[in-house]
């Protein structure tokens, strides 16, 4: 039996191939990032859906049938939902395109009026040219909405790639696990399960949370008789993927639409009350229940992550900033723990000792 103290000397040449493959992969990702992007999204979706497949797998259903079953049933429901939503959305977007000039005119008249009053009282504000800036923004809104439409193609590509990732993913992961360095596989798998625990719970939690908020917002706004309830609810749902943003986006957008639609203050107060209610419901009930096992991030850290994510990768950078922060936080925590154990920079923890012998 070989002694554990004896270590085989490593030949540096054995690292050449993995390093070359790694560098080539990195070069490929940088050069073809546009093509790689749907695969990143698909991998994220496959990661989120995998526990559902595992659920059926451990109950005896073969993986390929579990994936096919999930796609047929969930796909049918989702397709119907998306089709209905698109039906709503296309009618509402068309309506918005037609009515937008009138709304923009009213909004501009209101701000011009306000601006004149403000400039009269505080002449320094006149130099800022608020009116011209607002007019420019108003012209940009319809263009922005139309520019979002190409992103919808991802809705068809991503599930397609995810399907194949889910079917073949298990085998690839098993292969990789079996080829981890044997001696370190326990530590590597420990780290992977720690990250998986917090990140998986976060992603599944935030998706559930965004969906629940979308449903509440859609129902509430429909009941209030607000125009474009579906568009606003979808935007609230998507913006809920970014912590704190959902309710703010909802309150601002709905208040503007309510002002343009009703022209009185009461509906705006109702809407603000409704979104305050959503915010509290989210904080007090939804998050403690859904996110109880997820990483607990400080609001200041979330803000920093969102700003840095936006700076690095635009809108997708913002979407991915929190999951990436989760990973970084977990890795940092593990690194600190490893200091005490593996790296031995700190003395090892003492085992529990009891003076009374076994009786």
């Amino acid at each position: 039996m070989s002694s554990p103290e004896v270590h085989t000397k490593r030949n540096p040449a054995q690292f050449v191939l993995p390093v070359v493959i790694g560098l080539l992969s990195l070069y490929f990702i940088v050069k073809a990032k546009g093509a790689v992007f749907p695969f990143v999204l698909s991998a994220a979706l496959a990661y989120i859906l995998n526990p559902l497949i595992t659920y059926f797998e451990v109950r005896g259903i073969k993986r390929s049938y579990a994936v096919a079953g999930l796609y047929i049933s969930a796909g049918a429901v989702l397709f119907l939902g998306v089709w209905l939503l698109m039906h709503f959305l296309s009618a509402e977007i068309q309506d918005l395109q037609q009515t937008w000039p009138t709304y923009a005119e009213r909004l501009q008249a209101y701000t011009t009026n306000l601006n004149t009053k403000l400039v009269k009282s505080y002449p320094v504000l006149g130099k800022l040219g608020l009116e011209a800036k607002l007019q420019h923004l108003m012209e940009l809104v319809p263009q922005l909405l139309v520019s979002l439409l190409p992103a919808l193609t991802l809705l068809f590509i991503v599930p397609f790639i995810t399907f194949f990732m889910l079917i073949g993913g298990g085998g690839i992961i098993d292969y990789l696990l079996d080829h981890l360095p044997a001696r370190h596989s326990e530590l590597i798998l420990h780290i992977a399960s720690r990250i998986d625990g917090s990140l998986g719970n976060y992603l599944r939690g935030i998706l559930t949370e965004a969906f629940v908020i979308f449903l509440i917002a859609f129902t509430g706004l429909m009941l209030m008789g607000l125009n474009y309830a579906a568009v606003i609810a979808v935007l609230i749902g998507f913006s809920s993927l970014v912590p704190y943003l959902g309710a703010i986006v909802g309150a601002v957008l709905s208040s503007i639409v309510a002002y343009l639609q009703f022209g009185t203050l009461l509906p705006i107060i109702k809407i603000l009350g409704f979104f305050t209610g959503i915010r509290f419901f989210d904080d007090w009930f939804l998050q403690p229940y859904i996110m109880k096992k997820a990483v607990d991030l400080n609001p200041a850290v979330i803000l920093l992550a969102l700003m840095a994510g936006g700076e690095i990768g635009g809108i997708w950078g913002i979407v991915f900033s929190i999951p990436v922060t989760c990973i970084i936080k977990e890795i940092l925590q593990i690194a600190i723990e490893l200091q005490e154990t593996e790296f031995r920079w700190k003395p090892k923890p003492e085992p529990t000792r009891i003076s009374i012998p076994y009786t």
Binding site: S2, E57, E186
Partner: protein, 163 residues
Amino acid sequence: MGFLNAFSRIYDEEILHKLDFLRNISLFEGIKKSQLIHVLESLQERTYLKGETIFAQGDIGRALFIVLDGKIALSRLDAAAQKSETIAEVAPGEFFGEMALLEEMPRTATATAVEETKVFMLFKIKLDSLLFSYPKIGVVIAAQLAKILSARLRALLEKPAEN
């Protein structure tokens, strides 16, 4: 017959074998078959080739290993004699490294695959998750773990008397 054929194509027999296997592990004694599914969900499967070291004496333990197929040798280094001695061989259905589920402390022996060996790994973090999500399963595992440790301690104390 057609229905049975279709069912056998969809149904994975291997899962049934794995569940039967887990039912015979003393650590999971008393857990219902339907609940064993949750245990199976928490286990990580891995194959070690002949001669590979699973962990070494002094490494921090983080998982319990259940031998599914193959054989594992446990050896301990005698510090005084600077010699490694095989203290046990673990066969299919047996498990080792359970101390890692209680404390993240250094391993007291080295585990090496004597032949190509398939193991199930139960990580402490997964056990914690089981304890909180399915307390009924958690209670059984904790009680069995206490029983096994007590039996090992008793065996250790009774050893000199036997000699």
